[in-house]
């Protein structure tokens, strides 16, 4: 993928920050000054003070002479970094990789590869960043280019456009001053002395010549801007995976040893998850054996959990599947899927047991771990008449029913998975049978109720409708029979048994 970088330059980071905090300073020229060799040296200048000729690096006393009424504020070392860190964390909304510009300490660098289309293009993306930061009160200049170095240069020194097209960064750099390359002051002074006022005047020179005169660092910065050298951004927020490692002094080959290892890793992992309010949904235990093979077992939970004893029980069920052979020398416990844990209320509030009772959830996890999650079923009513489809499976244990269960029509307590054909003797069409033979046994029908006609869901499958009868035989057995299709000479119909009533 084409990599793209955005550089955000805060032109007056400290001044803007102070103006946001104290809007009353808008009319007053002010500077930040820090003690240096017994003097107060100006480190940052407000726009109003800059207008009257005050510059960073001046002595505060001199500045006061130039600009009467100048307010001098104390600067604290490390303040720009703290401000940039806060702004960078806010900027994570634009890209997961946000880094502080370590060279100037007055800007941010974003790796925006594959992010800009989410805002409708690079122009809209930059516009959004600028307007949002401006709304907060920061004056910024931004630029987007193929390399962080080029984006940095254009955001500070570019005069044409902040949007450098793909592959156009070299061309954009040519007309800029050498300051745009993030060079140290001695190197810049040497360049100026030799009359290099633009990058294009030295970019084509042989590397050996440049190295001799300006040093290795100069070449490195030039290469970073041109893209021949890779620049790694150190993101502010590193996503820390939930992982525990346990190297073993001696290879472990007993069940007890593995149990101790699991327990130890779970303890520290659960402690971390608890602190972050997370719970494990799936866990993978990997054992690296001394013969080079890797053994792996996985568990899953139906609700996020950071309880050591519960997770340990789940792993305990899987220990049989671990073949230590000659011994395991390294255990790694991963939690690839974690979720926010709902902190359980105090015991006194949850006196009422139910489906989401903690002990029930744990039971389900153990069953899912031992036998498999696909054996657990829960049913909810479906708005359908066809008996086989009148119940639907619940997705999770807490899913609520959306409709009521139907009570108006009798339904058998036991329903056959597929209806069994029976032989029937019925006297009159559309009457319940007089007797039926099921599995070789003849049942004399004493009482009957029906028919209840249930139409087939023709939009799903073709076939005949069913006419259901509830019948009772002379032994007291109650059955659910149906005739598939109409009575008739040429039409085919067949009788089936579909269930048993209580």
């Amino acid at each position: 993928m084409q990599r793209r970088f955005v550089s955000i330059w805060f032109r007056q980071l400290l001044a803007d920050w102070q103006l946001i905090r104290r809007p009353e300073l808008a009319e007053v020229p002010f500077v930040f000054a820090a003690p240096d060799h017994g003097r107060m040296i100006i480190t940052a200048v407000s726009p109003l003070a800059a207008g009257s000729g005050v510059e960073p690096g001046m002595r505060a006393a001199d500045a006061k002479a130039i600009c009467p009424g100048l307010e001098v504020l104390d600067d604290k070392p490390g303040r720009p970094r703290n401000l940039l860190r806060g702004l960078g964390e806010w900027c994570v909304r634009y890209s997961p990789i946000v880094a502080i510009d370590e060279f100037g300490m007055d800007g941010l660098l974003l790796d925006v590869s594959g992010c800009t289309h989410l805002w409708g293009g690079e122009r809209e993306y930059l516009k959004e960043i600028v307007s949002r930061l401006k709304g907060k009160g920061y004056t910024v200049r931004v630029a987007i280019a193929d390399t962080p170095g080029a984006a940095w240069a254009v955001s500070r020194f570019g005069k044409v456009t902040p949007l450098i097209p793909v592959g156009g960064h070299t061309e954009a750099l040519l007309g800029l001053a050498p300051e745009a390359l993030r060079l140290d002051e001695p190197v810049l002074a040497r360049l100026r002395k030799l009359g290099f006022y633009q990058i294009k005047s030295f970019v084509a020179m042989p590397r050996s010549v440049l190295r001799r005169r300006f040093g290795e660092d100069f070449l490195f910065r030039l290469a970073q801007a041109l893209g021949t050298e890779d620049e790694v951004l150190i993101p502010l927020q590193v996503p820390v995976p939930f992982q525990e490692r346990l190297p073993c002094l001696e290879p472990i080959k007993t069940r007890t040893g593995i149990e101790i290892a699991i327990n130890k890793m779970l303890e520290s992992l659960c402690k971390r998850m608890q602190a972050e309010g997370k719970g494990l949904r799936s866990g993978v235990l990997t054992g690296y054996r001394i013969d080079g093979k890797v053994v792996r077992v996985a568990i899953g939970t139906s609700g996020a959990s950071h309880s050591v004893s519960h997770l340990f029980k789940l792993f305990q069920l899987k220990i049989d599947q671990i073949r230590p052979a000659l011994g395991i020398e390294l255990f790694v416990l991963d939690a690839p899927k974690v979720d926010d844990v709902e902190v359980p209320q105090e015991e006194m509030w949850t006196a009422k047991p139910g489906l989401d009772d903690q002990s029930v959830i744990r039971l389900l996890d153990r069953v899912a771990g031992k036998v498999g999650a696909d054996v657990i079923h829960r049913y909810l009513p479906a708005k359908r008449y066809w008996p086989e489809r009148s119940v639907s499976q619940a997705v999770c244990v807490t899913e609520k029913r959306l409709t009521e269960w139907r009570l108006e029509k009798p339904r058998p307590t036991e329903l056959l998975k597929r209806p069994d054909p029976i032989e029937v003797m019925a006297l009159i069409p559309d009457h319940p049978p007089k007797f039926f033979i099921y599995k070789g046994v003849r049942h004399q029908v004493i009482r009957a109720d029906g028919p209840e006609r249930i139409e087939r869901e023709w939009w799903l499958d073709a076939g005949e409708h069913r006419d259901y009868y509830q019948v009772e035989d002379d032994q007291g057995g109650r059955y659910w029979l149906f005739r598939s299709g109409h009575y008739g000479g040429d039409q085919k119909y067949q009788w089936f048994i579909h269930g048993f009533f209580a």
Partner: protein, 252 residues
């Protein structure tokens, strides 16, 4: 001498009561009897209370019997699950139709079905579920249950207080379990007002074949829409109007 005898009698009584408690029979406390709605049948149990901390075994060989047992258990579950706790139903070849449970005042979505492949898995899940205090009852459909297995289940029940129902398909080894009660529920002809078409309330012959420290017996019970109702005098099959007399009726 007589005084010593009296004293011993008291000790015996006390010991007997202790044994009952250990076996899962709760003594009737403070006048508030825990009723499961079985009426007179509850008197067959020691102390006149339906034992909740116990394993109940149902012999179901024919599908008609197992359907009747399902209905009877569902009626009991309606009371046991009143407090909101869930129920687990374990089986290898389940035929229970969840929607029908609502006819017995049980919310079918509060029953967790576990449909596994082997008997061994059924036993493992049953034991684990019986240890789970958040459940109200566990129903397991089994073909066979050995003495040792049943003892394990009984131990789990005594710990947690979950009621266990075992539906057994095999009747031959009926004598060799430690279940507190053994039931046999067989369907009976329903009773309808003479001349009316259709079927009446589900009616069963409830046989309590074995009950520890209690009196076995046989009753006729009906599920009268909302609750169990005992039927005193059962009409003979012969009295029921034969099908031929109803042939001229209009149906539907």
């Amino acid at each position: 001498m007589k005084w010593i005898m009296e004293d011993k009698k008291e000790i015996f009584l006390k010991l007997q009561q202790d044994i009952l408690v250990w076996q899962g029979f709760k003594p009737q406390a403070g006048g508030k009897a825990e009723c499961v709605g079985l009426g007179e049948i509850e008197q067959a149990f020691p102390g006149g209370t339906f034992p909740k901390r116990a394993i109940h075994e149902f012999i179901t060989v024919l599908p008609e019997h197992s359907a009747a047992s399902d209905g009877f258990i569902a009626g009991l579950l309606a009371v046991l699950m009143q407090e909101g706790a869930a129920c687990v139903w374990v089986s290898t070849a389940r035929r229970l139709f969840p929607a029908s449970l609502s006819l017995f005042n049980v919310e079918p979505e509060r029953i967790i079905f576990m449909d596994v492949k082997t008997e061994k898995e059924v036993l493992w899940i049953t034991e684990e579920a019986l240890k789970c205090e958040g459940l109200s009852a566990v129903v397991a459909e089994l073909n066979n249950l050995s003495l040792i297995e049943s003892r394990r289940l009984q131990l789990a029940v005594e710990e947690s207080g979950v009621t266990g129902f075992i539906l057994r398909k095999d009747a031959s080894k009926a004598a060799s379990t430690v279940a507190t009660a053994r039931w046999k529920i067989s369907p009976l002809l329903t009773n309808v007002e003479s001349g009316l078409p259709g079927l009446g309330f589900p009616r069963w012959q409830v046989e309590l074949l074995k009950v520890r420290n209690g009196n076995p017996g046989s009753w006729v019970l009906e599920w009268a829409g909302e609750r169990f109702e005992q039927v005193e005098n059962v009409r003979k099959v012969a009295e029921v109007a034969a099908w031929s007399e109803q042939e001229d009726r209009q149906i539907g």
